[in-house]
């Protein structure tokens, strides 16, 4: 199935806007502006978090790890949320770009979740004394990473990516329903065995300067995700075009 470039005549502007051919047209205009905006916000973020914010009275400078940990932890949830919405888009509204966005987001979600785990374990290291502590929130992030990697493995298990889209969408939705349950049970399990650690009780008093740094970093990472997601979606649309062209090349007259 090669990607038609002519947009369907009927349908509201939303479905016309999201038509693969049209998507490639308007998304192209957004990539570089978004990239520049992301760099600027990161500039501010770095300035705030490394220089223009005070130490924590308890942890001293170790708190600065928070500025990279929290954004990644937030994105690990947000990206899955986007994938769940895209899954709905694929199954319910049959949106042509929905499965493209779902497939593009999976590896990004996995990377952000892995970074959340990495920074979390380093942040906890001074207090725990080991790189890994079966703390409730950290463990649920680990389970989240396994779900992401499972979805990536599921995508790669199919030869035909179009048939795969709907099946992966079903699993993503099932996952979306179960993620809150997993998080609750793991947190509960964590609480069972652990005196509340600094991470859990949010013992960090957020000074105003810290808050601005944290929010700026969250916005910066989110913009980074949006830019990368857009570029990955464009590549995915091209991958489908390649598959279509190859199929036509095989059938073309010798």
């Amino acid at each position: 199935m090669s990607v038609e470039t002519a947009p369907p005549s009927t349908g509201n502007w939303f479905s016309r806007l999201a038509h693969p051919g049209q998507f490639m047209v308007w998304s192209g205009k957004f990539v570089w502006p978004l990239a520049i905006l992301t760099t600027i916000v990161f500039g501010f973020g770095l300035w705030f978090s490394l220089f223009a914010s005070p130490e924590d009275y308890q942890m001293g400078d170790t708190v600065r790890i928070m500025y990279v940990h929290v954004p990644n932890a937030w994105l690990s949830q947000a990206v899955y949320g986007l994938m769940a919405v895209s899954a709905l888009g694929t199954l319910v509204w049959r949106h042509p770009m929905a499965d493209v966005s779902m497939k593009a987001a999976a590896p990004l979600g996995a990377v952000f979740t892995a970074l959340a785990l990495y920074t979390g374990s380093l942040w906890g290291r001074p207090t725990w004394g080991t790189f890994w502590e079966w703390d409730g929130r950290m463990t649920s992030t680990l389970v989240m990473l396994l779900i992401y990697l499972g979805i990536i493995a599921l995508w790669r298990a199919f030869d035909d990516q179009l048939r795969a889209a709907r099946i992966v969408a079903v699993f993503t939705l099932v996952g979306a329903i179960n993620v809150p349950i997993v998080k609750f049970s793991v947190d509960w399990w964590g609480g069972l065995h652990q005196p509340s650690s600094v991470l859990r009780s949010g013992g960090v008093s957020i000074a105003p300067a810290m808050l601005t740094a944290l929010l700026t970093m969250v916005v910066a990472f989110t913009l980074l995700f949006i830019t990368l997601q857009l570029v990955r979606m464009r590549s995915e649309v091209r991958n489908r075009r390649i598959a279509g062209l190859k199929a036509r090349a095989a059938r073309s007259v010798r």
């Binding site: 080991t130 790189f131 079966w134 680990l142 493995a153 298990a157 399990w189 964590g190 065995h193």
Partner: protein
């Protein structure tokens, strides 16, 4: 001889292109390790003593999980029949399959084992001994897996029977494997376990290609 090399190359290229088999195996291996603390509690001291056993059970199950796919695809698309008519004897081709299967299942597990070691609070020396025992033990699991895969290839529902069939035969591998690491063992009995494990692997590596070849030729199309 060229068939031997071509088969290994083909299997590695196929696995590289899809990549999902190796990733699934590693995920299964890590997941078995991750769920144990949920069951027995996160106490690092307890986990540390159980760690060698957990890592071995995880590798053991992951290897058995992967064996059904060994011949399934080749059987379904007719390549197995071509292999029976190959220039090289079938046993030699199966030896190539054993090597390819080891590279695609045991090696990813070895590479992923540090993750499990960290999760289970293993100290470095125990971890190194675990990797050594896995290195010596997994060839035996691959060899047994090959026999299991060949015996059940023609079964429509072979997927489940193969691991159950092979598990009892693989118990010695688990016993020697874990005892080669367990801190309680004295040094020389640990090394004896390691040597026995190596011997077991060598023996099974020699036996498997012929046994599997026989199983495949006998399982009429």
């Amino acid at each position: 001889m060229s068939g031997f090399v071509a088969l290994i190359g083909r299997d590695l290229r196929l696995a590289w292109r899809s990549g999902s088999d190796a990733l699934t195996l590693v995920l299964f291996f890590v997941m078995v390790g991750v769920i144990v603390p949920f069951a027995v509690g996160p106490d690092p001291v307890l986990l540390k003593t159980l760690a060698p056993g957990i890592v071995w059970i995880a590798a053991f199950l992951a290897m058995l999980l992967g064996l059904d796919r060994l011949f399934r695809d080749d059987f379904d698309d007719g390549t197995l029949m071509a292999m029976q008519h190959a220039e090289a004897p079938l046993a030699l081709l199966i030896a190539a399959k054993v090597i390819a299967h080891w590279l695609l299942s045991a090696l990813p597990l070895l590479i992923a084992s540090p993750v499990l070691a960290m999760l289970l609070a293993m100290d470095v020396s125990t971890f190194l001994r675990t990797v050594l025992s896995l290195l010596l033990g997994t060839p035996a699991l691959t060899a047994l897996g090959t026999i299991g895969g060949a015996v059940t290839v023609s079964l429509r529902r072979g997927g489940l029977i193969a691991p159950v069939l092979i598990l009892p035969l693989a118990v010695p591998v688990l016993i020697f494997g874990v005892s080669a690491i367990a801190p309680a063992m004295s040094v020389n009995s640990a090394t004896t376990a390691l040597l026995l494990l190596g011997a077991l692997s060598l023996f099974l590596l020699v036996l498997a290609p012929f046994a599997a070849a026989l199983a495949l030729t006998v399982s009429e199309d």
